[in-house]
């Protein structure tokens, strides 16, 4: 259907109508660029999630209390030591440990900030096993440490406080001077990189003996996870004296919890791409317009080609090739410009502390965008190409 000659002929035609071809290409590439940018950031976010959720998360189950604020933050129905033991004694649970979240007041000189302080048990660091965060400087917490490991941003000047900290220095947390023993690697969001990590024992020193656990994390028998979850629910209900259906807590596997985040991310990115698709739709209309004009202009030419024996399929092929080729060029430019914008945007985001918002550039993204552009061109060329094919050679030759 498409021969070497017809390709040459089409390319010549596009070259002769430089301005119009250029406009068509611009209109497609703008839309492709927008889509490229958002998909690349979306892919980056997915791989970020994958990277930080370690293989250690598959056999973890999280027990949270119900509440009215962000998951686990409301400690009205938080868990006691007895409840932790009841969970640990459940069949199918290998081990369990409690986690604290509290608001911490941190002071340097005249500056006061509030941040999240995170307590866990270094003997059973189940919660830390689920994330891939390494130590940047110093060391991790050990049992019995009355000191803190800080988030990455405390290392630098003017990020959280005017002056950065280093290992061995003391930092004022909740009106106590706490020794710093280490820093975590950069997570890439200002909130996470400002967190403070301490042992559960030290958490009770800071906030009082009777504080309760916000989360309980359990390592369970993964083969039989549904039954284990049921057993945990049953035991905790018994411990709290609750009837079935009236729980003030819920049990969720770590994988399920992460899935809810991914679903939200899917929705946001899907919505943005949907809006960006509107511009692709408009550019498809433009392309159709260009091709219709092109067919009208070349009516006589088509008549001549037909009268010397060109088949309908040949004519169809020429016009389809032209519009797809426009799409192809637009796709390449769209990817190039999109890459440039995503890349420089990521540098800016990294600079202002949102390092987790990094785009991903897999080959499939480039290929997908180019194929999509070609398809857009091809589809918008179908109707004009069929028009061209149906031209009656006799009338066409007479056409003025």
């Amino acid at each position: 259907m498409i021969s070497k000659e017809s390709v040459k002929y089409s390319l010549n035609n596009l070259k002769n109508r430089k301005r119009r071809s250029a406009f068509t290409i611009i209109s497609i590439f703008v839309g492709i660029t927008t889509i490229f940018i958002f998909v690349s950031f979306g892919l980056g976010l997915y791989s970020y999630i994958d990277e930080y959720i370690s293989g250690g998360s598959v056999d973890k189950v999280i027990i949270q209390s119900k509440g009215t604020s962000l998951s686990g933050m409301d400690d009205t129905f938080a868990f006691t030591e007895d409840e932790l033991e009841a969970i640990e004694a459940t069949s199918g649970v290998y081990e369990a440990s409690g986690v604290y979240f509290k608001s911490a007041e941190v002071v340097q000189g005249k500056k006061r900030i509030y941040t999240l302080i995170f307590g866990y048990d270094p003997k059973k660091p189940l919660i830390m096993d689920t994330f891939n965060i390494g130590i940047e400087k110093g060391r991790d917490l050990n049992d019995g440490d009355s000191s803190a490991v800080l988030g990455y941003n405390y290392l630098s000047d003017n990020k959280i406080f005017p002056k950065g900290y280093s290992v061995g220095e003391r930092i004022e947390i909740q009106e106590e001077k706490v020794k710093i023993i280490g820093f975590y690697e950069e997570i890439g969001s200002p909130q996470d990189d400002a967190q403070i990590y301490v042992t559960n024992d030290f958490m009770r020193d800071l906030y009082g003996e009777n504080i309760s656990y916000n989360w309980i994390v359990a390592r369970v028998d993964i083969e039989d996870i549904d039954r284990v979850v049921e057993n945990i629910e049953k035991n905790l209900r018994k411990e709290r004296g609750l009837e079935e259906g009236k729980e003030d807590f819920f049990v969720q596997s770590f994988a399920d919890m992460m899935e809810t985040y991914t679903v939200v991310l899917d929705m946001v990115i899907g919505f943005i791409i949907l809006i960006a698709l509107i511009s692709v739709l408009v550019s498809a209309v433009n392309t159709a317009n260009t091709m219709i004009t092109s067919v009208l202009e070349r009516i006589k030419e088509i008549g001549i080609m037909k009268s010397v024996g060109a088949r309908n399929s040949y004519i169809l092929g020429i016009f389809l090739f032209e519009s797809s080729f426009l799409g192809f060029i637009a796709g390449i430019i769209g990817c190039a410009v999109g890459w440039l914008i995503s890349y420089s945007g990521a540098l800016i985001l990294d600079n202002i502390g949102y390092g987790f918002l990094q785009p991903g550039f897999p080959v499939s993204l480039f290929a997908g965008c180019i194929i999509f552009a070609v398809l857009t061109g091809a589809i918008s060329g179908i109707a004009p190409a069929i028009n061209a094919m149906r031209i009656n050679p006799v009338e066409a030759l007479r056409y003025e």
């Binding site: 406009f23 703008v30 962000l70 933050m73 009236k246 943005i272 511009s279 408009v282 004009t293």
Partner: protein
Amino acid sequence: MNYFRFAFRNLRKKGVRSWLTLLGIFIGILAVVSLITLGNAMKVAVTSQFGAGNTEVITIQAGGLQYGPPGSFVTKPLTTEDAEAIKRISSVEFAVGRNIKTGKFEYNGILEIGSAISVPEGYEREVYEILDDVEIEYGRLLESGDSGKVVLGYNFYDGKTNSFGKDIVPGRTVLINDEKFEVAGILKKKGSLLYDWTVFIYEDELNELMGNDGDSVDMIEAKIKSKDLMDRAEEEIEKLMRQRRNVDAGEEDFSVTTPEATLETVNSVLGAIQAFIIIIASISILVGSIGIVNTMTTSVLERTKEIGIMKSVGARNSQIFSQFFIESGFLGLVGGIFGAFFGILIGYIGTLAINNWLGSGIGFQIDYILIFFTLIGSFLIGAIAGITPAMQAAKQNPVEALRG
């Protein structure tokens, strides 16, 4: 006027191509108008979530992470004495401490977790009329001397939507943290999840239920004597609280906010999101205008002979330019009219959907200013896109043009 008639005739004659060009601008304008309309409706919906509409109330909260309801994440809570002290400030009419706590609510054997807010005894009228701006739908509000009674937000009422499977009407008994309470009344719908899903309960009873010491409060609300005194009152409250909590200026471990400030923060975040979406949607208008340039260029080429004739019978360059300029503006305008119309239609349907989803009651308003600027804008976009083709047309040499 002749220009317009001529332009319109030309557009009609060109048929399919004009319509396709229009479609480009149409889709772009449609997207922008509907997104702005929906964004505004969302703004109203979110703003109404923040409840109280009284602009003379200042809220004081202790410093802490803002991850939940007021007071849930503070390191050093406010106290009832703080409220007493604020009350003594001359510009303050009255001040009360309020607690917002999470608890269990049970009815018809079904349990839900939700929030309860305290009503200070002796301040019932002030709380209803001034601080919370609430009215009663069924039954009555809490009255001095009541004990074991609560007032519920509107969403508790309807058995079909309240998740308890049965209507809750005044006189019924409900369990809050396993204690029995009688429902005194149901409030009017406020369109705010905060208020419509909240239990209003006397302070002492709430403290007893939640094991609160009765001394600390989650927030203090102060009614200022008049609107003109707001700034002064804000400063005075800040100064007093600094003294009471023994901190220097610039090191506050508490916050004093006016309703305007809260709304401003919310609106600026929503505005930024809206602007972002509209920029992306505007790309399609840009693409649509490229389509106009394209169509107009072709149109000039097609009418080369016509232009030659017009020139040879004495048409000036400026007249030829205006002809094409206006024709192209017209393309934009017609696309804009259709786009605005259908955009508003989509906005209307979307608003109904938001109301349905949030259970809010946002009234739909046509933004005439938006329509006006959209139409002007679409004409201008068309006209600007037509500048180069129009200049080309005007520059044609009549002799060559006649030769075709």
